[in-house]
């Protein structure tokens, strides 16, 4: 990978240089500011950057603004961005992930920890490269994503990729005083809808539902990701948890108003349901994924129960 590291501390840049060099197979380029990074990218179009390591606290444009600018410029929509920073408060962590960061490493770091995070970024970069080739708008042959695939969603407030959400949650659970909940949202009858949709319809459905949930959650502090299988997972601040039944109604009304042009079973409108809220407090960082998995299982179980109830009330033979 070609890695571009941006940090105003020359000691950190030297450390990064040595850590990356020790890993072999990677080249690192170092600059001391966001402005210098822009200059580097402009002057070196022949060096494809596969991963960014960004400090936050820098003179001029800070690392979070720069992250947002990188995502917004169109050239790096899926390139892994790892924040490497001493800023450990939740507001910076939230802002960095919301701006498009995929991972977050605290300074001071252990050498092996940075190596591991770079390896993770490398794995992510190769998956993202494959997804990008599927989404080439010029070919008009975008492959239909599988039902379980974690489709990338762009330009929806507080919606991040699932890999980033998995990195975000343990950062929070390390903070004993922090409380948050994970909650899942699921598109009902998604398998049947997926069967009826072409690629663009299904991708559009996922993006539109993400937007409806995000718009409805506006006013809450949250981050959300699409986990595949029609399921979205959100992590919401505990001290301002919304009332779920009301929230689900609001999202469904919003979806109705958006008028999603997708084929559905019996032409029923697209609807979502929500699962149980799962408190993150009390989960150890070693099993941080359990909370997200519990939220996912809860909503998918809720959806299955709703469909069973629906089938009991209205047998398939009666719908036509």
């Amino acid at each position: 990978m070609n890695i571009l590291a941006v940090d105003d501390d020359p000691i950190i840049l030297e450390l990064i240089d040595e850590v990356v060099r020790s890993m072999k197979d990677h080249q690192v380029h170092t600059v001391d500011s966001a402005a210098a990074a822009v200059e580097f990218l402009t002057e070196n179009p022949d060096i494809p950057i596969d991963c960014f390591l960004l400090d936050i606290k820098m003179p001029g444009m800070d690392g979070i603004e720069f992250c947002r600018a990188l995502r917004g410029c169109g050239a790096f929509p899926l390139t892994p961005i790892v924040m490497l920073t001493a800023m450990s408060d939740k507001s910076h962590i939230d802002a960095a992930f919301a701006a498009g960061a995929n991972d977050y490493v605290f300074k001071p770091f252990e050498v092996y920890e940075l190596q591991n995070r770079i390896k993770l970024a490398e794995q992510r970069a190769s998956i993202m490269a494959a997804q990008m080739s599927d989404m080439d708008p010029d070919t008009d042959k975008a492959r239909k994503p599988g039902l379980l695939e974690q489709i990338q969603i762009f330009d929806v407030d507080s919606v991040i990729d699932y890999f980033a959400l998995e990195n975000y949650v343990p950062l929070l659970s390390k903070r004993a005083s922090f409380g948050a909940v994970a909650v899942g949202f699921h598109i009902r009858q998604v398998a049947q809808i997926h069967n009826r949709c072409d690629s663009m319809q299904f991708r559009g459905l996922i993006e539109d539902v993400a937007e409806a949930i995000s718009d409805t959650l506006r006013g809450f502090t949250f981050l959300m990701a699409y986990a595949g299988n029609g399921t979205f997972l959100a992590v919401i601040e505990e001290d301002q948890v919304p009332l779920l039944p009301q929230l689900v109604d609001d999202v469904n009304i919003r979806i109705q108003r958006m008028g999603m042009p997708v084929p559905t079973p019996a032409n029923l409108p697209v609807r979502i349901c929500a699962g149980q809220m799962v408190r993150l407090l009390g989960y150890r960082s070693s099993n941080f994924l359990t909370a997200l998995n519990t939220a996912r299982e809860s909503v998918e179980q809720t959806a299955a129960e709703l469909e069973r109830g629906f089938d009991d009330l209205w047998p398939l033979s009666a719908r036509a």
Binding site: D9, P10, I11, I12, E14, L15, E18, V19, R21, S22, M23, K24, K57, A86, K107, P108, F109, E110, V111
Partner: protein, 107 residues
Amino acid sequence: MSGEADISGALDRIKGRFLATLSDQLVTMEQAHSSHAQLDATLREDALQALHRISGSAATLGMPKIGSAARRCEDLLIEDFATSTKMSPGSRAALAEVLAEAKSLLS
């Protein structure tokens, strides 16, 4: 194994440069510590930057004590400077701890 040997050698070299920079940062921090009146904006910013950099890399280079002292002092100074241009007694004590650690490392 050779990768590990390479990185430890490199860490020693970088530690040498860290200590060279630390002697410059020591001047700034001593200046801030000895100033009992208001600190001007440049001195406030320079002191915070010095502490931020020390706290960001010292532990990685095998000097966790000065790193955590610098982090504690930086947090206290950020609180002070949010409402004042002076250092609180608590911050001054924390800065003295950083200075003592720095002098010990440089001696």
